[in-house]
C-alpha cells in the first residue's frame, strides 16, 4: 500500500536539531522559534501561525479526555514478527528501536474516558511510532475498543494518523482493514455514533478503512489526507497535482470532511457534536 514519503517529517526533526537542548522548537511553517513550554501549553500549535505540530497519542488523549476518567485497554499488547520478515532491517529490531524512542509498545492508545458529560470509547494513533502504520496490534486494539464500545453503548472517537499498512506484517496488515471496518459495521448497526478525527497525515490503508467510516469526519487544519502518496500519483499519471491537493481543506471542498476543527476547539466541538449523536447513550 502506498506510503507517503517522509520529507516533511524529516524536515521537522532536522529543524529540531538546529536548536540545542530541546528547549526551543522552530515552527516549520513560519520559522518562529517557540519555547517548548509555551508550545505544550498551546497544545503544540504555533502561537504565531497556527501550525499544528504532531501530538503523541498520550498528549492527544489528555487533551481530549478527563485525565482521571481514562481507563486504558490492552496497554501491554505488542507486535509479533509473524512473517519473520527478512529485509534490510528486521521487524523485531525496528519495533525495539521505536519502543525505546517513543516509550510506546505500538502505534495506538485505546480506552474508555469522559469528554465533559459524554462517556466515550476513544483511540489515538501515534505517528512517531513507525509512522503509525497499521499492523495486527493497531487493528486488534481498535477492533476491541469498538467492540467494547458497542457492548457498553458508547460512541467511538478515533483520532487517526497513519502512513498506511505495516508492510512487515504483510497480509495480516491488510486484513486489519477488514477487521476494523467489520467492528464498525456492528457498532453502527446498534445506532451508536462514531466520529473520525483525521490528523496529519492520514493515508492509505487506515484511510481506506476505519478513518473514512465516521458518521462525522472532522480534520485538523492543513493536515494531509489521502489514499495514494503524491509521488506515486505524479509518477503514475504524469500529471501536475492541483494546489493544496490532499489537504483537509481540499477534501472538505470535495465533500469528504464535515468540518475542519482547530486543535484548541476540538474538545468543545466534540462535546457539541456528541450531544446530537447520543440519543441512545
Amino acid at each position: 500500500m502506498a506510503v507517503f514519503p517522509k520529507p516533511s517529517l524529516k524536515l521537522r526533526t532536522d529543524k529540531k536539531r538546529e536548536i540545542p537542548e530541546g528547549l526551543w522548537q522552530k515552527c516549520p511553517d513560519c520559522g518562529e522559534v517557540i519555547h517548548n513550554l509555551e508550545l505544550v501549553q498551546n497544545l503544540k500549535v504555533c502561537p504565531k501561525c497556527d501550525y499544528h505540530f504532531t501530538l503523541s497519542a498520550r498528549e492527544r488523549i489528555s487533551s481530549l479526555v478527563e485525565e482521571s476518567s481514562f481507563e486504558e485497554f490492552d496497554g501491554d499488547m505488542s507486535s509479533v514478527d509473524i512473517l519473520n520478515f527478512k529485509g534490510v532491517a528486521s521487524y523485531s529490531e525496528r519495533l525495539k528501536s521505536y519502543q525505546e524512542r517513543t516509550g510506546m509498545l505500538d502505534a495506538v492508545i485505546t480506552g474508555f474516558g469522559q469528554i465533559e458529560q459524554h462517556r466515550v470509547a476513544v483511540a489515538a494513533m501515534d505517528f512517531n511510532f513507525l509512522a503509525a502504520t497499521m499492523g495486527s496490534v493497531v487493528g486488534e486494539k481498535i477492533t476491541r475498543l469498538i467492540e467494547r464500545g458497542t457492548s457498553d453503548r458508547r460512541p467511538v472517537i478515533i483520532v487517526a494518523a497513519s502512513g498506511g499498512a505495516r508492510m512487515y506484517e504483510g497480509m495480516f496488515s491488510l486484513m486489519q482493514m477488514a477487521k476494523t471496518s467489520g467492528a464498525l459495521a456492528r457498532h453502527s448497526e446498534t445506532k451508536l455514533a462514531y466520529i473520525s478525527v483525521l490528523t496529519h497525515p492520514t493515508t492509505a490503508g487506515v484511510m481506506a478503512s476505519f478513518a473514512s467510516l465516521g458518521d462525522l469526519i472532522i480534520a485538523e487544519p492543513k493536515c494531509m489526507i489521502g489514499f495514494a502518496g503524491p509521488r506515486v500519483i505524479r509518477e503514475t499519471t504524469h500529471q501536475d497535482l492541483p494546489p493544496a491537493f490532499q489537504t483537509a481543506e481540499f477534501l472538505r471542498d470535495h465533500g469528504l470532511i464535515d468540518k475542519i476543527v482547530h486543535r484548541k476547539a476540538l474538545r468543545s466541538t466534540l462535546t457539541t457534536l456528541l450531544s446530537y449523536l447520543s440519543v441512545n447513550c
Binding site: A2, D76, F172, H254
Partner: protein, 330 residues
C-alpha cells in the same frame, strides 16, 4: 495463442523452438522424425513440470501478471454462461476496469463483480490496466445490494495491481469507496465468494474481496503492497522486488498456510496462461463447491462466521501471556 515466454521459462522456449524446426525439417525432407519429435515433446512437458513445481514468489508474481493469463471476462465466457453486463454506479460513471453483472454458474444465477485488464494498449487504456476508480467500487456495491435484495450469491474475481492512484480518484474519495465496501460487505445478507485470479493488489483487491470464502489461483498473488513498492521503501530500490516478494509471503501457498485464504485453486501444468479451458474448469469446480457449502447456511450463521473469519486475523503478544508463547488473538 502464442504465449510470450517469461525469463525463467527460457529452457521451455528453447525446446519449443527446437521442436518447431524439427517439424519443419520433417515436412520438407519427408524423413520420419516422429520419434525425435515425441522425445522433445516429452522433454517439454517434463521441463514445464519441473520449472513449475518449484517456483519462487517473484516468478509467481510474473505469472500472475502475464498478459496471456485468463482475465475475468475470459472466465466469464469459459466458466459461466449468459453474462449480462450491468453498467454504472448511478453517481458518476461506469468504470470499465471493474465490469459486473449477472451470470450463471452451472445453472446457478449469480452476481459477478470483477477487475478486468486489457491485453493490448488500446484495451488497457479502456480498462485502466485493471486499476479501478471510486466508481468501480461503488458500482460493485450497487450490484452487491442487488444481489442481497434478490438473494443471489456474489462472486468476486480479483485481478488488479491496486486501486487507481490518480487525481480524480482522490477527488472522489477512493479510500472512502473501499472502506464503505468493507463495512457493507461485512453485513451483506447473501453469500460472497472471492477469487484472486491474478494480481491481488492491496486495498484495491480487498475492496471487493471481503468474503465468506476467499480462493486463490496457484500462481496468483495477494499482497499489502507491490513487491516493487515494498522494495523501494525497505530496500531503497525497486530492483530488490524479488527479495520483497519472498519476504511478504504473498503466494497462495503461503497465505493458505497463514490461514488468510481458504483454498488454493490448482492451475494447469505450466500455468493458467497455457490452458485457459483447464483453468476455467478448475475455477468452476471450486466455485460450485464453495457455493454449495454456503448456500444452505442460515443467514445469521453465515454472517457470524464471516465476522469471525476476519476477527481472528492477526497475531499479537500480550504481557499477561508467557513471553515464549505467541498467542493468536483473543
Amino acid at each position: 495463442m502464442k504465449v510470450q515466454p517469461l525469463e525463467f521459462e527460457k529452457p521451455i522456449a528453447d525446446l519449443e523452438k527446437q521442436l518447431e524446426e524439427l517439424k519443419k525439417h520433417s515436412k520438407m525432407q519427408t524423413i520420419d522424425l516422429e520419434r525425435e519429435i515425441r522425445a522433445i515433446e516429452d522433454k517439454i512437458q517434463e521441463t514445464l513440470c519441473e520449472i513449475y513445481s518449484d517456483l519462487n514468489a517473484w516468478q509467481r508474481v510474473q505469472i500472475a501478471r502475464h498478459t496471456s493469463r485468463p482475465f475475468a471476462l475470459d472466465y466469464l465466457t469459459l466458466a459461466f454462461s449468459d453474462f449480462v453486463e450491468l453498467h454504472g454506479d448511478r453517481l458518476f460513471g461506469d468504470d470499465q476496469a471493474m465490469p459486473g453483472g449477472f451470470a450463471t454458474l452451472a445453472g446457478k444465477r449469480c452476481v459477478v463483480i470483477a477487475h478486468q485488464k486489457g491485453r493490448d494498449t488500446k484495451e488497457n487504456i479502456r480498462r485502466n490496466f485493471g486499476s479501478a476508480n471510486p466508481e468501480g467500487y461503488r458500482k460493485a456495491l450497487r450490484l452487491m445490494r442487488l444481489a442481497e435484495k434478490f438473494r443471489l450469491p456474489v462472486i468476486s474475481l480479483i485481478d488488479t495491481p491496486g486501486a487507481y492512484p490518480g487525481v480524480g480518484a482522490e477527488e472522489r474519495h477512493i479510500a472512502e469507496s473501499i472502506a464503505v465496501n468493507l463495512r457493507e460487505m461485512t453485513l451483506l445478507q447473501t453469500c460472497i465468494v472471492a477469487v484472486v485470479i491474478g494480481e491481488g493488489g492491496s486495498g484495491g483487491a480487498l475492496g471487493i474481496g471481503l468474503a465468506d470464502r476467499v480462493l486463490m489461483f496457484e500462481n496468483a498473488y495477494y499482497s499489502v503492497i507491490s513487491p516493487e513498492g515494498c522494495a523501494a521503501i525497505l530496500w531503497k530500490h525497486r530492483s530488490h522486488a524479488p527479495e520483497a516478494a519472498e519476504a511478504l509471503k504473498l503466494t497462495a501457498t503461503h497465505l493458505k498456510e497463514l490461514n488468510l485464504i481458504d483454498q488454493v485453486i490448482p492451475e494447469p501444468a505450466g500455468g493458467a496462461h497455457r490452458d485457459h479451458n483447464k483453468a476455467a474448469a478448475n475455477l468452476k469446480e471450486a466455485l460450485v463447491t464453495a457455493l454449495s457449502e454456503l448456500e444452505d447456511k442460515p443467514l445469521q450463521v453465515l454472517l457470524e462466521e464471516r465476522y469471525e473469519k476476519y476477527r481472528q486475523m492477526g497475531q499479537v503478544l500480550e504481557a499477561a501471556e508467557s513471553d515464549s508463547k505467541v498467542a493468536s488473538e483473543r
